[in-house]
């Protein structure tokens, strides 16, 4: 039996006036799970670091209050920590060595190490990766490896910091389930820190909401959602699952008509049943249709490109892609499918081993591509050269020979557009992960390239920031910029994307307009099932044109109207 008790915890980093944590108190016993959910600057990563540093007796900064651990004396007192950015947590060259490292430190006998390494790699979907070098793994594969390395040590306390940030849809479902199974099986306690209310948060024992270093409330998930759900939707700094957003929107519309609310449920079938009794589709209106994607011209074409790093295995094989001009092109696919490599080729940063890259139907040199295309890397820190966020953007303008006044004006505009005005004087490296990414996008905006590629734009962003970025991208597309966004974020893609290119096994296997791509008939491993789309299909498309489908909860409820309970049995009629 292990437990963790945090009492009136206050913490401030050295040389900073503001406290990062302000009087946190909570207790958790094994085998419980506590989901601590909060937006940017809530203090999640700080809390994770303090707990682990307190355990290792490596605390820095000013701390008051207490953190008490109780461990089962019959087992090693290991705390498993999964960092927000897993790239920084490895210390070996090969996958197998990395997983074995913790066990070696704990003095486990070599045959047991072998057995546990093999079992953990199988559980995390990394069987066959034993001798792979870490440098050849994709972002998602690294995340899986981090989970394997932590689980192999059989920790008594498990802390995960933004677990789902880098995972594709399938892994986002499978890996939390795996951690849940481990928790139940081993009897460990699990603290999950996240910017989103994930499916596994709802299935946990308790949910706590963290905002600006303060715990707002904590308790059973259903109770917390009932009390604070509407506020969470309105604030937008915590990402909620589509299902909970639908529940909140449904209840708000019912409340406006003084109709009784729907009960809180985390089960799709239950909610859909309740909603089909209380809602019916509105007649179609013209404003709901969007400009369809026709036979539009492409600005960049990838023609039968193959690529491999050194003498490693091929990353891309005969890959072809037509990037539609002035649209938001989404490049999606499972972890390790070659997305990041493909965009580096598009940006003229890598030369394909075979095949051609065409710019407006003519073969393009790497130099030409670098002039026309700007890429924002998955890790934004690679872009940072200056001392402050303001200087970072200003330096780019200076390098492009912009006059001082124009440059300053433009930098101020971009900072405001990206919600970074108040952070202008801060070092880029000290920003939160979401802010860093927006600053890197800002650098690309100064460049005004004809094609803007952003690798995982919504990573680290809260819901309102994701929406803000989506609107920004739409505006850029309407101003003659072509966008290629690499993303796993199905909701972002569904809401803001125009064309989706699906990459599987190193080649683009299909491309198509969104939202048609998300219709149940063409749902793939990648997309999972959109709750909005699934409900819309259940309502029989509401007699709307076949090509119309609501892309967000907001659009769905614009197409539905509430009715008294039992009046609408629309689904059964359909």
């Amino acid at each position: 039996m292990s437990s963790l008790r945090v009492t009136n915890l206050r913490y401030a980093y050295l040389k900073r006036d503001k406290e990062a944590l302000r009087g946190l108190s909570f207790a958790i016993d094994s085998p419980s799970m506590l989901s601590i959910i909060g937006g940017n600057l809530a203090g999640k990563t700080t809390l994770a670091n303090i707990i682990i540093r307190k355990h290792l007796e490596q605390l820095e900064g000013i701390l008051s209050g207490t953190i008490e651990f109780v461990f089962d004396p019959s087992r090693s007192d290991v705390i498993g920590l999964l960092f927000e950015d897993v790239h920084w947590m490895f210390c070996n060259l090969h996958v197998e060595e990395e997983v074995a490292f913790g066990l070696e430190n704990l003095g486990v006998a070599p045959p047991d190490i072998r057995r546990r390494v093999t079992a953990t790699l199988e559980q995390t979907g990394l069987a066959g990766f034993e001798r792979r070098q870490l440098s050849t793994l994709s972002g998602g594969e690294m995340q899986k490896l981090a989970i394997a390395a932590v689980l192999a040590t059989e920790p008594q306390i498990l802390i995960t910091d933004d677990l789902l940030s880098n995972l594709d849809v399938v892994s986002s479902r499978v890996l939390p389930e795996l951690l849940g199974q481990y928790r139940r099986h081993s009897g460990c306690l699990w603290i999950d820190l996240s910017r989103r209310w994930a499916t596994h948060s709802s299935a946990g024992d308790r949910v706590a909401l963290l905002k600006a270093g303060t715990l707002l409330d904590h308790g059973p998930p259903a109770k917390i959602f009932e009390q604070l759900g509407d506020r969470l939707v309105a604030d937008g700094d915590v990402e909620l699952p589509e299902l909970l957003e639908m529940l909140s929107a449904a209840n708000q519309a019912l409340a406006l008509r003084n109709l009784p609310k729907l009960p809180v449920t985390f089960e799709r079938a239950q909610l859909f049943d309740a909603m089909t009794r209380r809602y019916r589709p509105r007649p179609p209106s013209n404003s709901q249709s969007r400009a369809p994607i026709g036979n539009e011209k492409s600005s960049l074409d990838i023609d039968n490109v193959s690529f491999q790093y050194g003498r490693g295995s091929p990353v891309l094989t005969n890959c072809s892609l037509a990037v539609i001009a002035n649209r938001i092109n989404i490049l999606a696919g499972r972890n390790g499918s070659g997305k990041s490599t493909l965009v580096k080729i598009c940006a003229g940063l890598l030369k394909p081993n075979r095949g051609r890259v065409l710019w407006q139907n003519s073969p393009a040199s790497q130099r030409l591509l670098r002039e026309k295309v700007c890429l924002v890397f998955q890790n934004p820190e690679y872009h940072f050269l200056a001392d402050t966020a303001f200087e970072e953007l200003y330096l780019t303008g200076r390098l492009l020979s912009l006059p001082d006044t124009e440059n300053t004006k433009q930098v101020e505009w971009i900072l405001a557009r990206l919600g970074l005005e108040s952070r202008a004087g801060i070092s880029p490296f000290a920003l939160t992960s979401g802010e860093k990414r927006r600053l890197a996008i800002g650098i690309a905006l100064v460049r005004k390239a004809e094609i803007l590629i952003v690798d995982e734009p919504t990573l680290g962003q809260d819901k309102s920031q994701s929406r803000m970025l989506g609107l920004l991208f739409k505006q850029l597309a309407s101003e003659d910029t072509t966008l290629i966004l690499v993303s796993h974020d199905r909701r972002f893609i569904f809401e803001h994307g125009d064309v989706l290119h699906l990459l599987q096994g190193g080649r683009v296997t299909c491309s198509g307009a969104i939202p048609g791509f998300f219709a149940s008939s063409s749902q793939s491993d990648f997309s999972g099932q959109s709750d909005v789309m699934a409900f819309w299909e259940r309502m029989g498309n509401g007699n709307h044109a076949v090509e119309y489908a609501p892309r967000s909860t907001q659009e769905l409820f614009q197409s539905l109207e509430p009715v008294p309970d039992g009046y609408s049995r629309y689904a059964s009629q359909v």
Binding site: N49, M89, C91, V117, Y382, L395, R398
Partner: protein, 245 residues
């Protein structure tokens, strides 16, 4: 066991001793002929006792040839004596040619032995062997991490350079370019420091701070007779060449 697995099967410490022995013998040799025999024995080791890829060796050509060639050129013109021929105003003497050959071959032998060692040894198994020989875990792992950070930082440096290229597609003039390079290096160092700090915390969280007393190893290299045979044969051969020729 295939004969070409000999070097791979030798334990890292024995191979390290072999590298040291080769360097000492090379330094003690007094004629180019002796050194040529030593070079021949190294080539034999490389071609017949290991599965090292010839292309793998080509990767090291700069290290293998650059320093010995520089040393050769330096000694060629430095030594006074009987003049053989002239290259411009520089005279090549008999003594210079002998000394240049000797010094460059000695260095070439030492570097070749190190390259063969690197090509046939897993660095992790060397570190594990050091720990088994009671070298403190933290010290041994520091060496390992340092070696591991070289390829990581190379990739980091390339990626930061890529980010720089996508930011500034065209070349910039003097002072701006200088400023960019200065900033580039600062970013690289900063990222290196942050990586090291985070890696240290991650290692400690997984029990690294517990120390070496109870530590075990998944694939601990075991002492094998092959290593002893190989080392003894080489010891006899190299000192035989030194004494007999």
């Amino acid at each position: 066991m295939a004969i070409r697995d000999t070097l791979a099967k030798c334990d890292p410490i024995t191979k390290l001793l072999w590298v040291a022995n080769t360097s000492v013998v090379a330094a003690a040799m007094r004629s180019p002929l002796q050194l040529l025999f030593l070079v021949a024995s190294l080539i034999f080791c490389l071609l017949f006792l290991s599965r090292a890829n010839i292309l793998g060796i080509v990767k090291y050509w700069q290290i293998l040839l650059f320093v010995p060639t520089c040393l050769f050129a330096f000694h060629l013109f430095l030594h006074p004596g009987q003049e053989l021929f002239r290259i411009g105003f520089l005279a090549v003497t008999q003594e210079g040619l002998t000394a240049a050959s000797m010094h460059s071959l000695k260095l070439f032998c030492s570097i070749s032995a190190v390259v063969i060692f690197l090509l046939t040894t897993d660095i992790k198994s060397l570190i594990v062997s050091l720990i088994q020989m009671r070298v403190p875990v933290r010290f041994a792992y520091s060496i390992y991490l340092m070696l591991r950070f070289v390829p990581i930082m190379t990739v980091e440096a390339e990626t930061i350079l890529m980010a720089l290229r996508t930011r500034v597609p065209r070349k910039r003039s003097g002072s701006l370019w200088l400023l960019l390079w200065e900033r580039y290096l600062v970013t690289l160092v900063l990222m290196g420091v942050r990586r090291a700090e985070q890696a240290a915390l991650a290692m400690d969280a997984r029990g690294f701070s517990l120390g070496s007393k109870t530590r075990t190893f998944l694939d601990a290299p075991r002492w094998d007779r092959t290593g002893m045979y190989f080392f003894t044969a080489n010891l006899a051969l190299s000192w035989g060449i030194k004494s007999l020729l």
